[in-house]
Amino acid sequence: MSLRDAVARHVHDGDVVVIEGFTHLISFAAGHEIIRQRRRDLTLCRLTPDLIYDQMIAAGCAKKLVFSWAGNPGVGSLHAFRRAAEGGTLELEEYSHFGMVARFSAGAARLPFWSLRDYAGTDIPQANPRIKSVTCPYTGEALATVPALNPDVTIVHAQRADPQGNTQIWGLLGVQKEAAFASRRVIVVVEELVDETVIRSDPNRTLIPASIVDAVVIEPWGAHPSYAQGYYDRDNDFYVAWDGISRDGQSLDRFLDEFVYGVRDRAEYMQKQPDLADRLKARARFCAGVNYGF
């Protein structure tokens, strides 16, 4: 399925949308497609909104942001996010990383909440009344709780999947497994489509099974400027450049016009930047391999 069709079918105005991936495997291709299809009033959830949600906020897709760390990693601020937050035009629901991870864990296990030893002495629960507490029935200890997060749709970028959607990821795993299992619909976007026999040759690497996947999209370089371990490096230069691009709304709009609205898909986005592939292509570092025999 094309990304255009997958977004058209599975991402609707007003949805709770998760594009996960902690620095690694962030589906910028899907974010850009959502912007192109002008989805509105989305509740965007991610631990780290990163550049992709900064772009989606700037493009007017977001009504609300649910998050735990909203910065440009290694660089500084997310300026579109900051303008919206400081101007009071974006609803915020804020946790810590552990809180967000716990929300996905509860959602994935179909429990109403998750308990964690967290937040004592912090002001975070005052800023977010959805963080509550519960008394442990066994020890009497007061534990913090966070509500389950069950998105309407979760989009995960991955190295490879088979045509049914059995999806393998290596490198940083983030919370993609929990987010996918918590979600009502799941779109998987992959660097490579492989035969089911490839998946079966290394089943421990499968993070997301086909049974929970609604759409499989092949989109090489779909995570750029994020990265895909073993395929291409993170485009740190772009992350630094984003600081300048996003500092004022006009230069940000010019970026969206040229690289999002101005291209039809990821292939065109890559054709516009012919040096990217050479600059970022990963070198080979193969693992030793394991014996699955019995």
Binding site: G74, F98, G121, L172, E178
Partner: protein, 231 residues
């Protein structure tokens, strides 16, 4: 400051590495006196051995050659909440008299003057690491009497490494006191960088200056592009 922070770490310790200068300090320690330091990043890399300085805490170089890569639910539940982290290394926009850290907002939460990134893993690192070390540059704005928002409580903070000297709490959860000066720094320089009446230990330690090899590693090997070493 980075060199002093690196010296805080003992060889073989398990350290939870935060973004920014802590990242640089931990990698310097690993290449000098603490080659067996176990670096854990909230991104899931355990026992990371990055061949290049990671720009972010989710850099691909943290994965290549690490001892283990796990999901973030495991990082927070099996390592941090389980009590397996010996040192938590944090930076912060604001640090107050009782070592509480603010990385959330300057001003009110509802209508902030400056919206900062938020907690990330900092709240739980501050609550669960056995010993918390903070790195922050002195200025009255960065060291107010009370932070505008407590993102990470100061209870487990053992040391605050600044650009001019070292502060330590007067007992667990106590107020920060000046305990050590860098070479050439006067006590009054540090008092001027703090927004409250800073008390000092009766005898102040003098911190050894960075060695040539520490500086060379920082400037030529770890951070030649000056990603972290600014100014």
């Amino acid at each position: 400051m980075t060199v002093v922070a690196a010296r805080e770490l003992r060889d073989g310790e398990v350290v939870f590495v935060g973004i920014g200068l802590p990242n640089l300090a931990c990698n310097l320690a690993r290449r000098t006196h603490a080659p067996h330091l176990v670096l854990i990043y909230e991104s899931g890399a355990v026992g990371a051995a990055p061949e290049r300085l990671p720009v972010s805490i989710g850099d691909p170089a943290l994965v290549t050659g690490s001892l283990m890569v796990c999901g973030m639910a495991d990082v927070f539940q099996l390592f941090l909440q389980n009590g397996r982290i010996e040192v938590g290394f944090l930076g912060g926009a604001q640090v107050d008299r009782y070592a509480n850290i603010n990385t959330t907002v300057i001003g009110s939460y509802e209508r902030p003057t400056v919206r900062l990134p938020g907690s990330g893993g900092a709240a739980e690192i501050a609550l669960h690491a056995q010993r918390v070390v903070i790195i922050a540059k002195l200025s009255p704005r960065a060291f107010p009497e009370r932070v505008d928002f407590v993102t990470s409580p100061g209870r487990r903070v053992k040391r605050v490494i600044t650009d001019r000297g070292v502060l330590e709490p007067d007992g667990p959860g106590g107020e920060l006191m000046l305990t050590a000066l860098y070479p050439g720094v006067q006590q009054s320089d540090i008092e001027a960088g703090v927004g409250w009446q800073l008390r000092s230990r009766p005898t102040l330690e003098c911190v050894d200056p960075p060695t040539r090899s520490e500086l060379q590693l920082l400037r030529e090997v770890l951070d030649p592009k000056r990603l972290y070493l600014k100014g």
